[in-house]
């Protein structure tokens, strides 16, 4: 007997899969970016059905709301059409696409084969009782137990941001001299 939550899960999974497929098959980069945003939205909704509200909100704010909006903006700004043709047609690029798809499939199949035992055994009930809105536990773990890793990731992201600005300003481009 399928409960409402199961229907939600299958519907959202279908949404995520179809939009993820859309990212690959759409030849217009703007549509590809929009379907990527759609699949991120689906992920946020799946987090929400699992009662991981904080993760769902952060997924919306960071990925769907900030990162993908920037992608869509940049793609829109350049309105790529010649690159689109070069990218989606051609024997050499087709070969690379097939090869990388094969490698990815092999990776996924291998990881499923190796982790099948842990993935397909249902988790003990006791673990699922601790779910629910655990934002406070999350922040406590993040700022006490894993504070070093947290700060290091922050520092790395800062370095990346500063490096990106420095690179884009120093060599050529319209912002070189201002």
């Amino acid at each position: 007997m399928l409960a409402l939550a199961d229907y939600m899960f299958y519907f959202l999974s279908l949404l995520i899969l179809v939009s993820a497929l859309g990212v690959l098959t759409m030849s217009n980069p703007l549509y590809a970016a929009l379907s990527l945003a759609m699949s991120m939205l689906g992920m946020a909704l799946i987090f929400a059905t699992l009662d991981a509200w904080f993760l769902a909100g952060v997924q919306l704010i960071v990925y769907a709301g900030a990162v993908m909006v920037l992608f869509v903006m940049v793609i829109m700004l350049f309105n790529i059409s010649a690159e689109k043709q070069a990218f989606s047609r051609g024997t050499v690029s087709g070969f690379f696409k097939l090869a990388s798809a094969g490698v990815l499939l092999g990776l996924i199949a291998g990881s499923i084969y190796m982790s099948a035992e842990t993935v397909f055994t249902p988790p003990p009930i006791a673990a699922s009782e601790k779910l629910g809105d655990a934002t406070q536990q999350l922040s406590e773990a993040l700022f006490s137990r894993y504070v070093f890793a947290f700060e290091v990731i922050g520092a790395i992201l800062l370095v990346i941001a500063v490096g990106a600005v420095a690179l884009s300003r120093s060599v050529g481009g319209s912002h070189a001299n201002d």
Binding site: F54, V69, L70, V72, M73, D133, T135
Partner: protein, 386 residues
């Protein structure tokens, strides 16, 4: 949704009512905007249709409905038609998750030959524990409808307007979210009900082991974090693309920005989205800094009002219902005041230049919001040292 038919019916009705509330507020706000602007600029404004020109709303609605549907020749049909619908989603979802009154406690009662209850109904569409994270997440999707409209119209003006609008929204979203961090540190929770409960009663706080109490002031967030309130208010203006930050609609250079190619009902849906954004921003301002649905007089807390109605001879259910009504009116009045400030500012201040807007966002608001968060955190740590 609920355990039995009664609870499910009420919850569905609540969702529909809150959506209709947002939609219905729009014509009233448009009228207020026209009349208000007229009074500010020493004109009369719409005053011919019906008393005070109020029937103008109906006339506008009929006009919007009966305008010809058209599709620009080179438009991308799917994106062009989907954009107005997407514009409605963030405002509607965010508004439905905001508490608009104290919870109604319904005592068990008999109806249709069986026992029902007890229930607790919250005056909001749905309660999400992490409240503000959800609201910010949903609001951040607003940029998509603008981008879809700009690209789908295949029009230079729409495209430029959409780019400006979304760049502005992304920039000010940072300052908006960061300005809330200070008040979140003060209250230590994401939950709207807990935040509002903290703001009941008179202003009192402990500092360096001493107690301070101001019995004539309510315990509102603005007294704890005034800079955060100011930053939040200003970035809310920019987020909803209102003057003095309405660069996307700079008529002189961009015709009407991203909705240049839209008319009729599709245009109206963009309006509803924009006003929905304003309503959500005003409600957040009320919840975080002005006591939410609490009354502004310190001794009139929600329990006190409930006790007042119980003493007047109301039953427990109807007393709770009356309390919810009073608190609902209280937050509606607060939202109304902030909406009026939105309109007031629009017709008072001139527009910024685009580079000034970006400078303000990135070089002024963002550092101030960051500093506000850091200083609040340090200050709270310091005053709690024994």
């Amino acid at each position: 949704m609920g355990v039995d038919a009664f609870e499910i019916t009420v919850n569905v009705a609540k969702l529909i009512l809150i959506f209709l509330m947002m939609v219905q507020a729009v014509p009233i706000l448009v009228w207020l905007e026209r009349r208000g602007s007229a009074f500010i600029q020493n004109r009369l404004g719409p005053n011919r249709v019906g008393p005070l020109g109020l029937m103008q709303l109906l006339a506008d609605a009929v006009k919007f409905l009966f305008k010809e549907e058209f599709l620009p020749k080179k438009a991308v049909a799917f994106l062009y038609l989907a954009a107005p619908v997407v514009a409605l989603i963030p405002g509607a979802l965010a508004l439905a998750s905001l508490p608009l009154g104290s919870p109604i406690e319904v005592a068990p009662f008999a109806m249709l030959g069986r026992e029902w209850g007890p229930y607790i109904f919250k005056v909001q569409g749905y309660d999400i524990g992490v409240g503000i994270v959800f609201v910010l997440g949903v609001s951040s999707l607003g940029a998509y409808s603008l981008l879809m409209a700009g690209y789908g119209s295949s029009n230079k003006y729409s495209m430029l307007g959409a780019l400006r609008a979304s760049a502005q929204m992304i920039s000010y979203e940072l300052a908006l979210s960061l300005s809330l961090v200070g008040i979140l540190i003060v209250y230590g929770t994401f939950n709207f009900y807990e935040i509002i409960a903290e703001q009941q009663g008179p202003l009192e706080f402990g500092m360096f082991g001493r107690e301070f109490r101001f019995s004539f002031l309510p315990d509102w967030g603005i007294f704890y974090n005034p800079i955060g309130a100011l930053l939040f208010g200003v970035s809310a203006f920019a987020e909803s693309n209102r003057l003095p930050f309405d660069l996307p609609e700079a008529e002189g250079e961009l015709v009407a920005g991203f909705h240049t190619e839209y008319g009729g009902f599709k245009m109206l849906m963009f309006y509803i989205g924009e006003y929905g954004h304003m309503i959500v921003a005003s409600a957040l301002l009320a919840i975080f800094y002005f006591g939410g649905y609490g009354l502004p007089i310190p001794s009139w807390s929600t329990e006190a009002v409930n006790g007042f109605f119980a003493a007047k001879g109301f039953g427990s259910t109807s007393a709770s219902l009356m309390t919810a009504l009073v608190s609902h009116v209280s937050i509606l009045v607060k939202i109304g005041i902030f909406l009026w400030i939105f309109i007031w500012v629009r017709w008072t201040l001139p527009r910024f230049r685009y580079d000034q807007l970006m400078d303000l966002g990135w070089k002024t608001m963002l550092p101030w919001a960051l500093a506000n968060a850091v200083v609040t955190a340090v200050w709270i740590y310091v005053i709690n040292i024994k």
